[in-house]
Subunit: 135 residues, 6 copies
C-alpha cells in the first residue's frame, strides 16, 4: 500500500473530490488512478500537481502523444516503475503503436549510452553548439 | 581537452575517415563534431556507435524531430552538458521552434517531479496499468 | 531473497553479533533490519558502514529528524525502494508527521523539476552564487 | 549564455515583470537570478514555476531552512551545478552555518552510498517497513 | 508481464530465432533470458543490441569477468532491478566469488558517496587531472 | 573555488595534516588533491572518508586497477565531472592503457543503454536470476 494509503472518492473531502472530478472530465474516464489517490492526503499538492499537469500536457506546440512519449522517456531514464507503467498506458491511449514504442525505446536507450560516452571521454562542447554563438 | 584528445580528419586513419565521411554525408554538413573526434581513438566503438545512431535516428514510425526531442529529454534528465548542447542544436536544425523547446522543457521538468512523487509516496501500480492485463 | 541471503543473529559470528548488538542498543530496538543482515556477509563493510552511519546520523548541528528527512530526499531522488521504505519509517519514528512528510515530498518533487529546467535551459551560474565570490 | 538567452527586467513584458516583481518582494532582494531570466522566454512556465516554488518553500510544517537544505540534497544527488550553487547560497541566507552544511553533505554522501548497497545486495523490504503494515 | 509480452522460441520468426540461436551458442546455454524475449518484438533493436553486446563483452584489453562487474556497477548505480539480478548472475558465472562481489559493492557504494561530496562541495578540478595537461 | 574554499597544508590543523600526510604516504605522492582540501573544513568527514577509501581501495579480492575502473564507471554514470577527471587519472596511474579505457567506456555506455531497455520494456526477472533460487 502507498505510504499514507489511498483515498477513495467516497472517503474524499469536497476539495479532493473537485480535483478527482476534473481529472475524470479532462481525461474522459470514470476512474482516478492510484497516484492521485495517494497524493490526496495533501490536498494542496494534489491540486497544484493536477493543475500543472493539465496545463503542461494540453495540446500546444507539441501534440499530446509526443508529450506522453517524452514522459515515458524521462520515466524510463529515471527507472520509475509506476511512471513507466502509467505513462506507457497513457501514451498507448493517445495513439502510440507498438512500432512507435519500439523506436521510442531505441532512442532512449541510445541517448543513455551516448550521454555516458560524451561525459566519460570528457568531450568539450563544440563552439557551434554554445547557445550564445547562434543568437 | 577530451581525455584522449580529438582526432582531426587530416590525422585520421582511413577507417576513421570513412566514418567521418558518412557522418558528413548523412547529416548534410561539412564538419564532424567533437564527440566523434573523441571516440575516434577507438575505431570499433566509433563505427558501432555511428551505425547504431544512424539506424535509430532515421525516419520511421517516429519522425526525426520527435527523436531529437526525446534525445534532449534524456540528456536533460541525466544532466549531460555536452549532450544537452549538441542535441538541442540538432533538434533546432530539425525544426524545433522556441515554443516547442519551451513545452519540451515543461514536460521534462514535470515528469522528473512526478517520478519522485510516485516513488516517494510508494504508490502501487494500478491493475489497469499492468502490461499483462491488457493484452 | 537478498543476493547472498540474510544472516540471522543466531547464525552470526561474534564479530557480526557485536555490530548487531550495537545497532540494537543505539537504535533502542530489539530487531536488526534486513539491510544489515545482507551486509553481514562482508563483516568489514558491515562494521565500516554501521560506524559511519552512527557517526553521521548522531545529533549535531542538525537534529536526527532533519537528517532522516534528508536521507528520504536522496532515496526518493535515486528511486531506491528499500531505502524509501526504511528511511520513511525511521523518519516517522524520529517524529515526522504526515504534514511534514507531505511537505518533504513537495520539496523533493519541485527540486527534481527545477534541476532539469536549469540544466535544460543551460542557465549559467550567477556571479553572486559563485563560491569564491563570497568568502 | 542560456539556450534562449536571458531576459532582463528592462526588456521584459508586463506579464514577466509582474513575476519578477513578486520574486523580489517575496525574497526581499533587488535582483532576479538567471534561472528566472532564462525561463522568462516561456511566461506560462515562468509563472507556474514561481507560484509553485512560492507555495512549496513557504514556512509550514517544515521551516524554510530545512526546505532549502532538502533542495541542496536533491541537487547534489542529481549533480546539477546551477542548482547546487544557487540553493547552497539560498540555504546560507536562510541560516545554514558551515557546520550544518558539513553535516548535510555527510548525510547526502552516506545516503547515496547505502542506496546502492541496498539495491546491489538486492535486499527485500522488511515486513515492518511495508506501508500497509503500520496503518 | 513485459510491456509487449515475451516471444518464445517456438513463436519466433526466423529472423528472431537466428539471434536466439547465436545468443545460446555464444553464451553456451540452452535458454534465452527474458530481456531478449521482450526485445524480440522489435527485431531490428534485438539484432543491433545483441551484436553490440557480443562485440563489447568479448575478451579484449579487459577480461569478461571485469566487464561483467563493470556492468553490475552501472546497474546498481542506476537502480535497475532486472539488470542487477541478471548481471550479478552473469558475473558469478564468469567467476565472481562472494569476496569479489563484496568488494565490488563496497567500491560502488563509496564511489556514489564521494561523487556527491565532490559535487556538493563544488570542488574544482585539479590542474594535474585536466586531460590536456598530460598528453 | 569550492564552497568553503580549499585548506592548504600550511594552513591546516594538526588533525588535518595527519590525514594529508597519510594520503601522501599511501598514494606515494607529494601532493594532496583538491577533494581532500575541500573536505578539510569538516575534519570528521575528512578522516572518515579517507579511512573508508583507504580500506576499500586496498588490494584484496579485486586488484587496485579494477577498483579504479569501477570507480570511473560509477562516476561516468553519475555524470560527476570532478570524479571522472580524478579517477581516470588514478586508473591510468594504476596501469589503465588507452585500450582498456576504450573498452571500459564501451561497457559503461552499453550498460546504461540496456538498463533502460530492460526497464522500459518492463521485463520481469527470470526465475533463474532470483537470488533465492540458486543458493
Amino acid at each position: 500500500m502507498a505510504t499514507l494509503g489511498l483515498i477513495e472518492y467516497e472517503a474524499a473531502s469536497p476539495e479532493v473530490r473537485a480535483v478527482y472530478d476534473d481529472i475524470m472530465t479532462v481525461r474522459k474516464t470514470d476512474a482516478v488512478n492510484n497516484f492521485w489517490k495517494a497524493l490526496a492526503h495533501d490536498p494542496v499538492t494534489l491540486r497544484r500537481t493536477w493543475h500543472s499537469i493539465k496545463e503542461i500536457m494540453a495540446p500546444g506546440a507539441l501534440d499530446p502523444l509526443t508529450k506522453e512519449m517524452l514522459y515515458v522517456a524521462v520515466s524510463v531514464t529515471n527507472q520509475c516503475g509506476y511512471c513507466i507503467a502509467s505513462h506507457t498506458a497513457a501514451a498507448r491511449k493517445a495513439g502510440m503503436t507498438d512500432a512507435m514504442f519500439a523506436e521510442l525505446m531505441a532512442v532512449v536507450g541510445m541517448a543513455n549510452e551516448t550521454n555516458r560516452l560524451a561525459s566519460g571521454y570528457q568531450v568539450e562542447i563544440d563552439e557551434q553548439f554554445l547557445p550564445g554563438k547562434k543568437r
